[in-house]
């Protein structure tokens, strides 16, 4: 056994291979592996295991998943936008999701940290407590002032009387995210024209085709007013970002709408609705993409 009382287990051999068996124990394992056929076989198989695991192709991100995450982010942005910070401050539950998507609770933080909902909830619980304490202090001061002056002076110190609103306190706590200038659902109030073209877009060349259309124009025959469902769908996907193109076209011979902003284009089915955007493809249009 070369100094070892018994054969090392697979885990110990793996640890040795990983370089975390130091000192005398490492020397003993090395000596054992040099002479024991069985254990050296295990070591050799362990050496080749990562090759098996590494041989898998990297999974491609489905366009539907990317569109879904982008829609959820857009919804999150929109949820915050109307009131600046106000909307997000009282949210302690799971993140909002795009309609039709499943979205259970938030993931946990890295080991050792409290989950975000806990931190927020605690802030929200502490804030009203602060208000109560400040109000009590104010009342006490007012009472003392009355007793001392003998007059009915109802007010306390301004800072104590006007307790910092919970919202401001939570805001000062630094919950992340955009605070102003966010998107707003303006599209419903300002409908956009839908260009009707005979373009037949193809998956592999979609990005180039859309970029070309944005550069030289889609060659549209005419324009139509968008149906209400499309307006909602566009709003859902773009979150109010400035539109650069909304087009009736075909995608791989299927009737579709093409929706583009400065950074991204979506191909959606004609049945696109806010709840079911029916994204068939999505490409980035940002420079360098």
């Amino acid at each position: 056994m070369n100094g070892l009382p018994r054969h090392p287990g697979t885990e110990e051999i793996a640890e040795f291979r990983a370089g975390i068996t130091d000192g005398a124990r490492g020397d003993l394992v090395a000596a054992h592996l040099a002479e024991c056929l069985d254990c050296s076989s295990v070591s050799a198989r362990l050496e080749r295991l990562p090759l098996i695991l590494a041989a898998f192709p990297q999974p491609a991100l489905p366009a539907s998943v990317e569109a879904r995450v982008m829609a959820a982010l857009a919804a999150e942005s929109r949820r915050i936008a109307p009131d600046g910070t106000a909307g997000r401050l009282i949210e302690v539950g799971p993140a909002s999701a795009a309609p039709g998507t499943r979205l259970p609770g938030l993931p946990g933080l890295p080991e050792g940290g409290p989950p975000p909902w806990f931190t927020r909830q605690r802030r929200i619980l502490i804030a009203p407590l602060g208000v109560l304490i400040a109000a009590a202090a104010c009342l006490l001061l007012a009472f003392v002032g009355l007793r001392l002056s003998g007059q009915g002076h109802p007010g306390g110190p301004a800072a104590g009387g006007r307790a910092t609103p919970a919202r401001e306190r939570v805001s000062a706590g630094g919950i992340a995210g955009p605070r102003e200038n966010s998107t707003s659902p303006v599209l419903r109030e300002r409908p956009f024209p839908v260009l009707v073209s005979s373009a037949n877009l193809q998956g592999p060349t979609l990005q180039a085709q859309v970029r070309h259309q944005l550069t030289v124009g889609p060659g549209a025959d005419n324009q139509v007013t968008p149906p209400r469902t499309l307006v909602g769908c566009v709003d859902q996907l773009t979150a109010g970002s400035r539109l650069t193109l909304v087009e009736e076209a075909t995608y791989q011979s299927r009737p579709v709408y093409v929706i583009a902003t400065r950074n991204r284009a979506w191909v959606v089915g004609r049945a696109c609705t806010p709840a079911h955007p029916a994204v068939l493809a999505s490409v980035a249009l940002s420079p360098g993409r």
Partner: protein, 247 residues
């Protein structure tokens, strides 16, 4: 931190903002900045989520949760690590969280072909992406029946591991992240990453030793030519390389 699988900041054209700049713009209220950041790294983040969780639907949920969480917590980012490290950490945590939540459930493959096809459809039959990420691993491509079967066996074997071991093996062995990067992502020591790798590999070995690397010689299994019982004396393992190597 040189995180494989994403364009480095040097590779970004001069008119493209860095990750940190995008995050700052998001915190300052730019409604498109976070989306751009996500799209820049979406391919790698998806790979991490899918390989860790092992189920496309759950991986999509985990990725979405993670991105919403990152969206909300962007103001808490202090720049102590790269933005990609931070994003990866949130995705890994979301994925591990899901693994823990579903620990009572498991997927059993009975071995019949119909079940195999169903699992294959769930695991790999997703629509092709229009996003191409730079990957240290093999690029996505059509899977053969053999490779689907191998992937399913690996997925099944990975499910036997505790979530943290699984996450480490996915990042190090499957996706090719350096050990130091994984330590930073998981906020643990390098030694802990190595230890989890070692234990995970030891647990996987009995499940996967009959497999061969896709595309290699059929006789080139993990166990072929190595079993003393078969009379094949193995080549002497280079034990010193094991000590000096990465993991």
């Amino acid at each position: 931190m040189p995180m494989d699988g994403r364009p480095s900041q040097e590779q970004l054209s001069v008119d493209q903002p860095s990750d940190a700049e995008l995050l700052r713009q998001h915190v300052d209220g730019d409604p498109e900045a976070f989306g751009q950041l996500f799209q820049r790294h979406s391919a790698r983040l998806w790979a991490v989520a899918l390989r860790t969780v092992g189920d496309p639907e759950e991986a999509a949920d985990a990725l979405q949760e993670a991105m919403i969480s990152a969206f909300r917590r962007a103001g808490d980012f202090r720049g102590r690590s790269a933005v990609t490290t931070w994003l990866h950490r949130i995705v890994v945590n979301a994925s591990v969280d899901r693994l823990r939540r579903r620990s009572g459930r498991s997927v059993n493959w009975s071995g019949d072909e119909e079940a195999l096809e169903t699992l294959a459809a769930r695991g790999g039959g997703l629509a092709s992406s229009t996003v191409t990420g730079i990957s240290p691993g093999s690029p996505a491509g059509p899977e053969t029946a053999d490779s689907v079967e191998v992937r399913l066996e690996v997925d099944t074997a990975l499910r036997t591991l505790p979530p943290q071991q699984r996450a480490v093996l996915v990042l190090v062995d499957m996706l090719g992240y350096p050990v130091a990067d994984v330590a930073e992502i998981l906020d643990v020591s390098v030694g802990t990453v190595k230890s989890r790798c070692a234990r995970g590999r030891a647990r996987l070995l009995p499940h996967l030793e009959h497999l061969r690397k896709p595309g290699s010689d059929p006789a080139d299994t993990l166990s072929s030519g190595l079993s003393p019982e078969e009379g094949n004396r193995p080549a002497s393992p280079n034990v010193s390389s094991g000590q000096e190597g990465g993991v």
